[in-house]
Assembly symmetry: C2
């Protein structure tokens, strides 16, 4: 069960056996802790391996166990804003199992996706994580995978698949509850495009939390783009139509940053006159916002961790279908500090 | 040279052999295009493989060739701003060679780095790319790798290593030449911390290009942090001390965005009164800047592509030491449009 050494100067098991004065079979047994050997022999082989800097081959291990201790992580996200935290979380979970991830970026191209799935299967990965870029359900992988697959952030449209998502509706509830608790009563919601899955989920959370608090929303949800320019425009229109607005919950940090600038330029102070909360907790935006922005963190690293854990479980014990949901967390900064006298 | 099939329902070579009515050895020869076989037998085996969706095992291929067609990509960059384009470029280059990358994030922790290098070597990767987060030279990998290593973006401090970097000084020259060509004469430079390698390189480029144009800089370089708040502060100070300033070249897009806001709030129009250029061409900042920001693109994707190509060359033909430099590109947006009557 040996792998031929490369000619690059890396010590192979044959070198270890030669230095220890034993057969290759004996050296292999000693290093893999198998078979009947005298303790002295095992120790001599291990010392030789240590001396030569011998690194046991995972290729050989995988031939013994039928597992390669590798997984594929397929992502499609040029800015990495959503995929990278998922990758970090998956790495946390897989590290415990000494498992490494091949990372492939499909760049939203189904042909590339299909190509990568086949490449990964050709490498005998033990499983695949598919990390999405948006909360929308996605079609299952085109090439049917004979190994477990877990979808992260974007769930699979096939209910027989295993997906880990973030509870976006619950995240919106956290934001509204925080604004109500800090004394705000006239709360508006400015968000992304009408029909976008994340916008729909957040609007549902806003309605639920306002109803629970016995409050009316300030106008209908304000749908637009996920951009600062939309935020600035919405802030100007909002303060004109509803001068008594005292809080804005925004569907993204980018929108919130535009709202912050728009409010300031309309003569409103944040947070004294109007409190502001965003979604994504994306540091370069939330921390540079004026003032720094309270934001709902989608907890994507935890999504990645759970995806990694579920994949390892599926590899060991078989597949568990279903959608697993991870809670959001509110990260409070100064944009939602209570106005004096309100709490 | 067979790999035992897993029990997950994936067709193994034994299944192909059974369906084709040949021995496993014959099936292997037919699928690997080796040995003497009748054309009819080869075709029958290939049809059986097709029918069963048999995917040839790269593990078996690697045992035949001594190569695994895998590389490691070690990165350390939580926001992914610098590492992800390098990863995409490396993927472009490696894709041609049917090579996949294990991606590991060391999170700036030397212990994690050492762990990952050993894991990658244990998987018998053919080579390693180390992607840095900043232009500063970094120490070589702690664990000596018996396979080729290429450093990308952050070069190795060891001159015997192979590194691909971006020509930051040349990037600054591009920015100044553009400002001069569009009629600006009173050009200031606001940048990051004193002593930072990128700041040093960009200051050198600014001096060289201004000298070549026969212009004096507006004050010494303005050193501060890589943040918007520093940009706003610098803009206010700059317009107070040098009211005739007509252009600012900033060491990063983040600083430039702060300068844009600071200038507007000091009553200066961008680009009519003052032109503005940043560095990084980081879309979420450059495109949302008011007005959209002209920026020096560090061409990190090309850095990744060259790193991938050099690694493949090193794997085939051995290591080429040295530092390879990739040119920057200027991406022009409205923040540097010529003031009317100046050109």
């Amino acid at each position: 069960m040996l792998v031929p050494g490369k000619t690059s100067g890396r010590a192979g098991i044959a070198d270890v056996a030669r230095l220890a004065g034993v057969s290759i079979g004996t050296a292999s047994k000693a290093l893999n802790d198998r078979g009947q050997l005298r303790e002295e022999t095992r120790a001599r082989v291990q010392a030789a391996a240590e001396q030569l800097g011998f690194i046991p081959s995972s290729v050989a291990t995988s031939l013994l166990t039928g597992r390669t201790f590798t997984v594929g992580l397929i992502m499609t996200d040029h800015h990495g804003r959503f995929s990278l935290p998922v990758l970090h979380g998956a790495e946390d979970a897989l590290g415990w199992a000494e498992t490494l991830a091949f990372v492939c970026d499909t760049r939203d191209d189904p042909i590339r996706e299909q190509h990568y799935v086949r490449s990964l299967l050709g490498r005998r990965v033990d499983g695949i994580i598919v990390a999405g870029r948006r909360a929308e359900a996605r079609p299952p992988l085109i090439t049917r995978a004979p190994v477990p697959v877990v979808y992260a952030f974007a769930r699979s449209a096939d209910e027989g698949d295993c997906s880990v998502v973030t509870d976006e509706e619950g995240g919106a509830v956290l934001a509204i509850e925080h604004l109500v608790r800090t004394g705000r009563r006239r709360i508006a919601h400015v968000t992304g495009p009408h029909g976008h899955a994340s916008a729909i989920a957040r609007v549902a959370g806003v309605s639920r939390a306002l109803r629970a608090a016995g409050l009316e929303p300030v106008g209908d949800p304000w749908y637009g783009g996920w951009s600062e320019v939309w935020g600035r425009f919405a802030a100007a229109a909002l303060t004109r139509e509803h001068p008594d607005v005292d809080a804005v919950f925004c569907g993204s940090d980018t929108i919130a940053r535009g709202v912050a600038d728009g409010l300031r330029e309309s003569g409103r102070r944040v947070p004294e006159d109007v409190a502001l909360v965003g979604v994504d907790n994306w540091a370069p935006i939330a921390e540079e916002c004026r003032p720094p922005l309270t934001s709902v963190d989608l907890n994507l690293r935890e999504v990645g961790r759970q995806a990694g854990r579920l994949l390892l479980q599926a590899i060991e014990n078989g597949h568990t279908p279903g959608v697993h949901s991870v809670d959001c967390q509110l990260v409070v900064r100064s944009s939602s500090a209570p106005a004096s006298g309100r709490t």
